[in-house]
């Protein structure tokens, strides 16, 4: 009996594929060297299904040069566990897949249908399965439901989607060339000048993204507000007090605003005009990934990365379709009726699904398309396990959005009455929903405020009962949050739907930004200033977008990977050589910021309780033990000190101890939960009789 080896991207997907394709037997879970895989049989063949662990291969320098060496132009694809730290499992996976593949006569890549999935499957088949990429086939599916998986298997593509895999390879190679060379140039420049190691990174997408944040921070930092005045007006209409707006929303001179008040206070006005406008509000379009991430942030405060992770979890549970899509289309082939029938089994969606099923099903689609996947939609499957609170939120959002796109347009009416008081005009505004259409389907995610006006007549007399001046100031532009930055990246067409959220996370990891409302640090400013001075094109959005377009051309088979990589090397070579020549100069520019950040990282914001000097984290040069010491030691002979945990990475938190108000510290050790403690309480409580009240365990002493 012939054997087919199917490779999926994740272990959960492997189980679903095995369950769907095993028509003769149920999946038998097997293991090779600790790596699980499934065996099933159908009438004609034996099928082995194993999974990858994301990427098992990565781009790395071909030679054994030091990690600090640059420029580096010579690279190859190598097993990830050999070139990256902490990837031991990947090594076991490669070895096991390699062994299992020896039993196979036929190979199928069933990884996610996008650039990354095609590349993951391609590299495994090429390198771990002894060049099986040439004869391998490709399964195309957007959900992990049994029906779709069986259809995909029956219509398996005769060969791999090489253009997609090569586009992915090219993206990884180009990003590696940018990242490794530019990051090493910055890190080494700083290291040589300050003799203090700090990982500084930039990249093809990371640079322009950081530039967005820095430019916004610059605009906020140099913002000068200007004053303006608004009039808060109330009018009496047949005994009902209603708020009115002055004809000009903002008045730039206080004297003018005061004059209007003089003219209108206590005066009577006439309703001169009544206008009503009825308009349709079409249903929302189906979710593409970025719209889903934006809504998840807006309603639940989930960052794009977290939202994507939750959506992927729901996809692996067969509850929703593949979330990494740019499509706003829902083709009939997804089987609308079947999805609605499935949703009608879930109590809270039952009435909506039933109503929609009784009519014609036609979604309100958007313009964006994705050749590989439809928009995100629920499969109609009922959750087999209890979803956690956040998964439930994302699931509900996806279902509600899907329902709403099939709803009728809502109809709204907006009313405006113009009141004339001498030469001045005021407006009364109202709005109401005439036909709710899709609004109840979207449930809590559709928010409309209705303002009802009383019956009004032209020529009716009203009285200005209150008119007051409100002084206001123009506002600086808002800081980015992870969701709005992701939107900015998408609008600028930099990065991909799969990588944008990760790029934003790196900005936090490198201490370039802090807080949810993204504040650019002085290090971010300096990195952008340096890149702008020495290689402005690297952070130029237009240039990055052009490169994206070239890579998209590879997907379409109109450009070759080799051409784009060669072009990148030709472009980067002089830049990197120039940066290397100016290492000392760049290092000098980076040093004060790095030192400043280092000083900030060891200086507590609470002063010494004895002498009021700064408190710092100090290391005893002889014993190498760290503790909190008073910086006033040399001036005031203050000997105040507090002990600190001796193991793990120490961070001074921007939080105070709720009990004593001292600054809290956090210690992070590999494989353990971060430990937050108060250095002062520990001392006070440990030395007192109430030692049992200590909630944070004291550091282990030998």
């Amino acid at each position: 009996m012939p054997t087919t080896l199917i490779i999926t991207e994740k272990p959960d997907a492997a189980l679903h594929v095995a369950e769907a394709l095993g028509t003769k037997t149920t999946p038998k879970k097997m293991s090779h060297g600790g790596v699980p895989f499934y065996e099933v049989q159908n009438d004609e063949e034996r099928i082995l299904v194993c999974s990858a662990l994301g990427h098992l291969y990565a781009v790395a320098a071909r030679s054994d040069e030091k990690r600090s060496q640059y420029p580096v132009w010579d690279f190859s694809w190598q097993p990830k566990h050999l070139v990256e730290r902490g990837q031991v499992r990947q090594g076991k996976w490669i070895q096991s897949i390699s062994e299992i593949s020896k039993e196979a006569d036929r190979f199928i890549n069933a990884c996610d249908l996008d650039v990354e999935g095609s590349l993951i499957g391609y590299t495994i088949l090429k390198y771990a399965c002894n060049g099986a990429d040439k004869k391998a086939q490709r399964m195309k599916f957007s959900t992990l439901t049994t029906k779709e998986l069986r259809e995909a298997y029956a219509r398996v593509l005769p060969q791999l989607d090489f253009s997609l895999a090569f586009a992915g390879m090219c993206r990884h190679e180009v990003d590696w060339l940018y990242g490794i060379n530019l990051s090493r140039a910055l890190t080494q420049s700083a290291l040589k000048a300050s003799r203090r190691y700090s990982t500084l990174s930039t990249g093809r997408v990371q640079g322009p993204t950081l530039r967005f944040v820095v430019e916004r921070e610059r605009a906020i930092g140099t913002f000068v507000p200007s004053p303006f005045w608004m009039l808060r007006t109330s009018v009496d209409v047949d005994g009902k007090i209603i708020e009115a707006e002055y004809e000009r929303e903002r008045l730039e001179a206080r004297s003018e605003a005061q004059q209007i008040i003089e003219d209108c206070r206590g005066k009577k006005g006439l309703i001169e005009e009544l206008e009503s406008r009825t308009y349709r509000v079409p249903p929302p379009t189906p979710f593409d990934l970025s719209a889903l991430q934006a809504e998840a942030y807006r309603h639940f405060g989930l960052t794009p990365r977290v939202a994507l992770g939750l959506a992927e979890r729901l996809y692996l549970d067969q509850l929703i379709s593949y979330p990494r899509t740019s499509s706003q289309k829902l083709p009939p082939s997804i089987g609308y009726e079947e999805v609605f029938r499935g949703l009608s089994q879930i109590t809270q969606y039952q009435p909506f699904a039933a109503t929609l099923l009784s009519g014609t099903l036609a979604p309100h689609e958007g313009s964006k398309e994705d050749p590989a996947h439809p928009a995100v939609y629920p499969t109609g499957a009922i959750p087999k396990r209890a979803l956690d609170a956040r998964e439930q939120k994302i699931f509900d959002l996806v279902v509600r959005r899907f329902l709403a796109t099939f709803g009728q347009a809502a109809t709204k009416q907006s009313d405006r009455a113009t009141i004339k008081v001498g030469k001045h005009a005021f407006f009364l505004r109202g709005s109401r929903i005439l036909e709710k259409g899709w609004i109840p389907l979207y449930g809590p995610y559709a928010k409309f405020e209705e303002v009802m006006l009383p019956p009004l007549k032209k020529g009716q007399q009203v009285t200005i009962v209150k008119i007051a001046l409100q002084e206001k100031y123009t506002q600086p532009p808002p800081r980015y949050n992870p969701s709005s930055l992701l939107k900015e990246m998408e609008d600028a067409e930099i990065g991909t739907k799969a990588t944008r959220a990760d790029t934003i996370e790196i900005l936090y990891k490198r201490s370039y930004v802090k807080e949810q409302r993204m504040v650019a640090t002085s290090l971010a400013f300096r990195i952008i200033e340096i890149l702008n001075k020495y290689c402005p094109k690297v952070i130029d959005v237009t240039f990055t977008r052009e490169l994206e377009t070239e890579m998209e051309q590879i997907e379409l088979g109109k450009q070759t990977r080799e051409h784009v990589v060669h072009e990148t090397v030709d472009y980067l070579k002089p830049i990197i050589e120039d940066l290397k020549a100016k290492e000392e100069e760049i290092g000098k520019e980076l040093t004060p910021v790095i030192s400043g950040m280092f000083l900030a990282s060891i200086t507590l914001f609470v002063p010494c309780p004895k002498c009021g000097s700064d408190l710092k984290v100090v290391k005893n040069p002889r014993t190498k033990k760290r503790f909190i010491g008073c910086a006033g030691k040399w001036k005031t002979n203050c000997a105040f000190s507090l002990p600190l945990p001796q193991f793990g990475a120490l961070t001074l938190l921007d939080r105070r101890c709720p009990e004593c108000g001292f600054q809290l510290v956090q210690v992070r050790s590999k494989g353990r939960r971060p430990l937050v403690s108060c250095p002062r309480c520990y001392v006070n409580k440990h030395s007192s009789a109430k030692a049992e009240e200590v909630t944070v365990p004291p550091p282990i002493r030998k």
């Binding site: 930092g221 140099t222 000068v224 507000p225 004053p227 303006f228 206080r254 100031y473």
Partner: protein, 94 residues
């Protein structure tokens, strides 16, 4: 002579300043100004917006009142507040 790392510490702590350094931060002064590009931009905005405040409060609105009001407002950028402090210090010195 102080070692290089000591100098770095002094510069970072704002105790010692290089000749071409912006008096408000560790950046270099721009060619045509005694401030860096960032604080220079803040100064320019400060000068440009004065007209708007005069329009708002009348011609008699003094520059001192303008700076004092901006220093109070949370909407004012930090670099602008740095420049206001710098201008006041300079004014006091002159």
């Amino acid at each position: 002579m102080a070692s290089r790392s000591t100098l770095v510490g002094l510069v970072s702590a704002g105790i010692w300043q290089m000749d071409d350094q912006c008096p408000l931060c560790e950046r270099r002064k721009s060619e045509s100004s005694e401030l860096c590009e960032f604080h220079g931009a803040a100064l320019k905005n400060l000068e440009d917006m004065y007209v708007k405040w005069q329009r708002g409060y009348g011609e008699g609105f003094s520059k001192e009142a303008y700076l004092a009001k901006l220093d109070e407002l949370s909407e004012t950028g930090q670099a602008v507040k740095d420049v206001i402090g710098f201008l006041r210090k300079q004014g006091a010195r002159n």
